[in-house]
């Protein structure tokens, strides 16, 4: 059995659970709980453990999707991420500049601590307050398109959009594998 493990991460409410739910063919394990304190003002429920989703596309091949919990905590989960994930997608809500700091932390962490290929998915692009993708890149510290991870606009509620984002991620992974072989 060949399995690709993809981690979906990002700040609270970026759409991680929705992303996984939209594409997964199994009922996703729902670990959302009523949100407390600060998060509650933002959304009624938040993910407290990992989300999990699966796409079995042949008897011998599957894609596993793991979603990190909302709260920004760099604990053992990140250890797992770095050791086991083949690739990861960082979701950022385009309309919430207050989340760019947390997203920046995650991307800096991955850039320095791991070589796992990544793609940045800008979610909530359909909102009127959404920042343009190019500006989000700068706010995350990617000043030139050179050497920046691929960026895609994602609507986590739409299956085709999620599928497109995952395809970009897989292509990024394939390229990094080809580079590593050279």
């Amino acid at each position: 059995m060949e399995i690709m493990r993809i981690v979906v991460t990002g700040p609270v409410g970026a759409g991680k659970s929705t992303f996984i739910r939209t594409i997964s063919e199994i009922e996703t394990v729902d670990t959302d709980r009523k949100a407390t304190d600060e998060t509650a003002q933002l959304k009624p429920s938040t993910t407290v453990a990992m989300d999990f989703g699966r796409l079995q596309f042949s008897p011998q091949m599957a894609l596993h999707l793991y979603g990190t919990p909302g709260q920004e905590r760099f604990d053992f989960m990140w250890d797992i991420l770095i050791r086991k994930a083949h690739a990861f997608i960082l979701l950022v809500s385009s309309h919430r500049p207050q989340d760019f700091r947390a997203a920046r932390r995650i991307s800096a962490f991955m850039r320095h601590r791991s070589k796992v290929p990544m793609v940045i998915g800008c979610s909530h692009v359909d909102r009127p307050e959404a920042w343009p993708m190019e500006e989000i890149a700068i706010a995350l510290g990617y000043l030139s398109p050179h050497g920046r991870p691929p960026m895609v606009a994602v609507n986590a509620l739409e299956r085709s959009s999620v599928a497109t984002a995952i395809i970009t991620l897989i292509q990024t992974y394939a390229e990094s594998q080809a580079t590593a072989l050279r």
Binding site: M4, R83, R104, R113
Partner: protein, 284 residues
Amino acid sequence: MKISGYFSEFSLGEVFRFLEQGQKTGCLSLKSMDESHALPFLPAAPEHYLFFRYGQIVAATTTLNHQGLRQLIEQRGYLHPLTLQRVMNRYPGNMPLGVFLKSQAILDSQQIQLLFKQQVLTPIPHLFAWKEGYFHFDAQHPLPLAEMTGLSASPQVITLAGLRLLRDWTPLMDKLPLADSTIVSLVNEPPSVQLGKIEWQVWEHIDGTTTIQQIAQRLNIAVLEVQKICFRLMVMGMVEEVVNISSPSTSEPAPVNEMDTDRTGLSSSFLNGIVAFLKAKTSG
């Protein structure tokens, strides 16, 4: 382009970094949302406008009537109002007013510098004391040449000055780097800005492996102080924070070893298969 938000979410230093690094041109409007907007050194006004040209600050005003620089010239007594009126009638408006006045030998370089200091360098750092404010950046806004001296200031330098003046850090506490994070330099050369003694000592300890806590220990200063200095360096775009994985068993941050992986490469038939499968899902 829609770039707006609140200081509590995206602080002024972060806005400045964004505009400087993105080399933006346009108008940044700032509206105070607390009582502290009546600060000494800062003109009392409901709104402040900062004009950026390729990421550098070229003018600051409190109205959009193009009269600000003229008023400063009058205030300083450089020219009699009537003389100024006559001069303004000759001003073609196709270059910064300061450049025009200098080219006509009406004002000298030093006077222009003092005007810029009064317009930008002295007041703007005080904006960092606002506890809450709303910002909006308009890249379509034309630059007001009549408000411009022809000089510019780096937002980096203003940020450093502003954060040094800052007494109440409460609104920034949630934005400071974490005590057990490592700080990594983003620049190869030592900073071109003038750092203070302790700032310099902290900078010297930034080697990509030492955590904020360790720097504080070595320098024997409070962790919070190092966090603040590192925040300054961060919003100046000189360093970045890399968090460490907190392991519950030890107080030392767990080092992550990339070799320590149990991930195996995926076959190309697998990758082709999954892409084909997903492509089918992108339609309908």
